[in-house]
């Protein structure tokens, strides 16, 4: 099962590397990893999607907690959450397919952000499952290039405080 883990991290030299290193060093699965600023000065939020059985995910959480630079580690899979991903997809079109592609883009509530005489680029946002669905539909048209951000997620409702969970 996939788990979405949200981490508040000191914005400090090497902090990101320590998290990334943990996954390679301990052999944990890493499906996506994103990092960006938060509302708090010098604190970054990392969103990681990992998978494994309960015992492995338990270890992932404990090992992340153990790092000196992590301030809070939450397995969002245990909570109500909102997950989003953004994708830029560039697709070749021929006579006749342009209209179809635009329709698909509309169905997925995407935007066409670039067009030339060979290809169009669309911007799609949504839960990762929706992006996957769009990719599946677009695949037969010939995807030229694609860039996905990986999942960002937040717990819904209450505010997360900067404090490590007491284990």
């Amino acid at each position: 099962m996939k788990h979405t883990i949200s981490i508040l991290l000191e914005n400090r030299f090497g902090a990101f590397d320590r998290v990334a290193n943990l996954f390679s060093g301990k052999g944990f699965n890493l499906h996506s990893i994103t990092i960006g600023e938060t509302e708090i000065k010098d604190v970054m939020r990392m969103t990681i999607v990992t998978s494994g059985n309960d015992q492995i995910v338990d270890q992932v959480l404990k090992q992340l907690n153990r790092l000196v630079d992590t301030l809070k580690v939450v397995d969002l899979s245990e909570h109500e959450r909102t997950e989003r991903e953004l994708a830029l997809i560039s697709i070749n079109y021929q006579k006749g397919t342009l209209e179809e592609l635009k329709n698909i883009c509309d169905i997925f509530r995407g935007k066409v952000v670039d067009i030339n005489n060979k290809s169009i680029m669309m911007e799609l946002t949504g839960p990762p499952a929706k992006i996957n669905a769009a990719v599946n539909v677009l695949m037969p048209y010939g995807i030229k290039e694609m860039a996905r951000t990986g999942t960002v997620a937040l717990k819904r409702g209450e505010q997360i405080n900067i404090q490590k969970k007491e284990m």
Binding site: R66, V68, D69, M167
Partner: protein, 572 residues
Amino acid sequence: MSSSKKFINGAEIFFECLRRENVEYIFGYPGGSTLKIYERLYDIDFLKHILVRHEQGATHMAEGYARASGKVGVVLVTSGPGATNTVTGIANAYMDSSPLVVFTGQVPTNLIGNDAFQEADIVGITRPITKHSFLVRDVKDLAPSIRKAFYIAQSGRPGPVLVDLPKNVINALCTFEYSEKIEIRGYKPTYSGHINQIKKAAKVISQAKRPLLYVGGGIIMSGASQELRSFAIENNLPVTMTLQGLGAFPGTSELSLGMLGMHGMYWANQAINHCDVLVALGARFDDRVTGKVDTFAKDAFKIHVDIDPSCIDKNVKVDVPIVGDVRQILSELRKVMPGKPKIDKWWEEIKTWQKECPLTYDMNDGRLRTEYVIERLSEKTRGEAIIVSDVGQHQMWVAQHYKFNHPRSHISSGGLGTMGFSVPASIGAAFAVKDRPIFSVSGDGGFQMNLQELITANYYKLPIKFIVINNSFLGMVRQWQELFFDEKYSFTNLGESNPDFVKVAEAFGLKAYSTDRPQDVDDLIDTMLNYNDGPIFVEFKVVKEDMVFPMVPSGASISEMIVKRLNPQRMV
């Protein structure tokens, strides 16, 4: 001094910090990037710098010092090769949770990443083997980083911390301030265990029919030996120890079952198999202890006390986890025990196992064996010595046959299994402990891996007794080749290429002896014990083909133990 506006350079700040941390010894080796520090060191008298002969030696010495004293071991090396040479020592300290602070020189910040002369990304290289690390990029951060490094290294589950010091940071000027209070918002180790969990554990233990304490190095690190002793005696509980736990509980006690695990005592492993309540105290269910995890103490109710939450449920799922300092938790546990378990029958079972398969070895053929040497050493020093063993067969024989009376007396590379650990680590221990004899016991293989540090021992006139158990083989590897690899002794025979160890030791200025006769052992041990004018060396030439038994083959369950006496046909 602390808030004066005087500007001092990074090197001076460095030593001011070490003074505040009460550092007695630095194990180091100078080089281009640390010249400024060594310039300052020239006039420093509040601490002693120990000049090593190889940076790996420095890290092992610092670890030997840390483990014998309980204080932080400090290393100072230069950039590039100086720094990369510390890697094995740092990894060793990380695996065995020893508190070290390793200072590495670094090229100036404007050259970092430029493939500058003697540049290495040591922070990157050591990231997976340090508890934490700092690259100090501004002299303003120097004192706070050092303060944090010492705090992190020795608090919670101890470990090595690396501080990388670029040359220009060391030269730069800054005012000095050293805050007493320390606040690291992402790092707050838990010390006191959850009282409800402790009560639950107490209840289970008091009702147990076949309880067993399984104790590890955590007892020694937290200084919990006294509490452990009281707890075990009050409740008449059997105690078995891991390799790193040896000394946590007196080996001569009636309650001690000795070591468990791969080369553990038959009865200790039987007790693991049959216990109904297993209490793990500062031990981490290492694979050399558990063998096949699924069959380890299969039917037992498991209680696990550890300061590191990530150790809980890592290898073996437990029923009552208690996170915190084992000393505090044991003291709480003693207070809330509702009563003593009734376990006379359990003790009878254990006694039967002890009689069924005692620890023995062949002693009637008149040939010298390691077991005999260690047994005599144990008797003659009455378990009071500090034994720093290396890695391999002799290490297991030390663990089996030496009866340690005190904590911080058995120093060995457990987790990483670093050959070449003993010689330098014993030197570190000798700086920490002056009133008890210190023995370094190595095999002929491991001894050759760091023997350059004999110079260090001799130069500082340390009264270390260096023992080499020479069986002309990489004995433990040979043992596996014999048992599991069709007796193909591939590259384990050192006999033809070994140097004359007596001459080697003499070349380093040591008094040196050698024997292959059992009747010389007592005299030579006496000679070593009575010699206090610097280090002394003795080579014991022992039987080549001797094997360590009992043995649980790697990955097998404890019940598949190979015991010399029960399965003689599988012996050779």
